[in-house]
Subunit: 309 residues, 2 copies
């Protein structure tokens, strides 16, 4: 039900973080790319193979200490359908290794079309009587600009199949305030209004932890709003991007957590993927460097929240 | 520059409509599915092949009279990476036949990630020195909830490579008003505010027709708002969904056009794809039925706007 599996694994690992898998070719050590390009040429097939091998190494290195991965769809689509095949393979591999998978797609559309997205990313597709999981993630990020009927098809799958969604509320980017910080005629901001919609949408499926199947994306770069929203949205689990490369630190994300140390998962993408570059270690050690950075990040954040109960 | 190619082809064909390609298996005649499933089984490969053959027939039947197609990404993702490969093949085939291709993906993210989406859908991807077009559409629908820095990477590609975007302003679905109709503290609605942002973003690249590279999605189901926005946003070209199956008629979409009969393109998806079912004709005639419906729709809309100058 809802995010219970994730909440429980965060507690077990005492680690409320998620590794973003946004694998640009630039981030991948040459020795991985050389093998892929030798086999498939400097093509989308070659790039997609390099992406998968890079991800596989990261997942192997992180799966016993990090509860979740968040592949960002854009970085796979960029490499064509071949890249999208790597997204599917990455999701399957991470799940096989016991990780919770959040596909970061920020999908949104009218109800009929959201049914298709829900089937694609969280549910199953009917192929002439056969049920096939197209991508089969555990959770999907979505954009709520279209209102309730664009969210409803997802809620049905979340409830029936133990999945979750994260709705964009207050995003981590510099210009997020242009619309999201605007004040509506009832005195509330747009982001707070979207947050309240999350609480309402999630009320159909609140788990034992107190959190529902409808989470919210709130950026680490807006610490005050994180605190405000944590107080206002007691059943809404937060996915917090913007830690590390985008400028958010552990002190900034601390307000995302409740008194039990629950209620949020903090994402780092470039920080983990590119740790080998920052360290200046041998490229062959990229996965070990990612693990070292993941541990450093966990310890830094746990230093602020103590124990997760 | 901007939407000039599309505006010119609409004028040449005297047809301001776009055929939505949202090919669910249910819409596809059995004889097409039988061939695909015989060859690939009842699998995502089989489904994806049936989708492509269905689309190919529609494109062949429509390309001399309809200026554009709009494949909806969700209906391809639903059939896995194999479906996404069919999206790529469909875009390539439609372009080969001279049609303008709008990928309806409603993509949105922070700036760095939007660069990846822009490369994926409109531009090219660098693969170790080789430039490869991953999907290569002419235009992409996007969601502006994240503000300017999520739009900027697209503008650069639009200007450099003669592409366009359509930003969600007032969507066609019943609950679109929950956020979009709310009034901000300056007395303007959220959708009008988003529309004004489109005017501003587009000001970097206004074509000879007077329209910029930044269009807006405004639903046929909200006729009054279409008229309001046409008046308020003189440089913003409209993509208008919601005609036909969703309930919008020709009278409803008439306010989307300017005095020259320009400024908008009206989408029909199910109406065209499923015309063979509605007509009750032989399944083998599905493409002819689609053409008959496309002509009927064109005539109905042109009856309201007269001539496109």
């Amino acid at each position: 039900m809802s995010f219970e599996r994730l909440v429980e694994d965060i507690r077990k690992k005492q680690n409320p973080t998620v590794a973003g898998l946004d694998p640009k070719l630039d981030y991948i050590p040459d020795y991985i790319k050389d093998i892929a390009f030798d086999r498939y040429g400097r093509t989308l097939d070659g790039a997609a193979e390099a992406l998968f091998q890079f991800n596989k190494g990261l997942i192997d290195s992180l799966c016993d200490i990090v509860p979740a991965v968040k592949p960002q769809a854009a970085y796979y689509e960029m490499y064509g359908w071949q890249g999208v095949r790597t997204l599917e393979r990455t999701i399957a591999y991470a799940k096989e290794k016991g990780m919770f998978v959040i596909t970061d797609g920020k999908r949104n559309d009218i109800g009929a079309t959201m049914q298709a997205y829900a089937a694609a990313h969280l549910g199953v597709t009917d192929v002439a009587g056969e049920s096939v999981a197209a991508f089969g993630a555990d959770a999907l990020t979505v954009n709520g600009y279209l209102g309730t009927d664009g969210i409803k098809p997802l809620l049905e799958i979340c409830k029936a199949d133990d999945k979750g969604i994260f709705v964009l509320v207050k995003t981590s980017n510099p210009s997020s305030g242009e619309l999201q910080d605007r004040i509506l005629d009832d005195g509330k901001t747009v982001y707070r209004t979207m947050g309240n919609m999350c609480e309402q949408w999630g009320s159909i499926d609140v788990g034992e932890s107190g959190y529902s199947c409808v989470g919210a994306v709130v950026g680490a770069t807006y610490s005050a709003q994180l605190g405000e929203l944590r107080g206002a949205l007691p059943h809404t689990f937060f996915l917090v991007p913007g830690y590390g490369a985008q400028g958010g630190g552990a002190a900034d994300v601390a307000p995302a957590f409740d008194k039990m140390g629950r209620g949020a998962i903090i994402n780092s993408s470039r920080g983990i993927m590119c740790a080998w570059k920052k360290e200046g270690c041998a490229p062959e050690e990229y996965a070990d460097a990612a693990r070292r950075e993941a541990i450093r990040m966990r310890n830094e954040i746990m230093g602020f929240i103590g124990e997760i109960i």
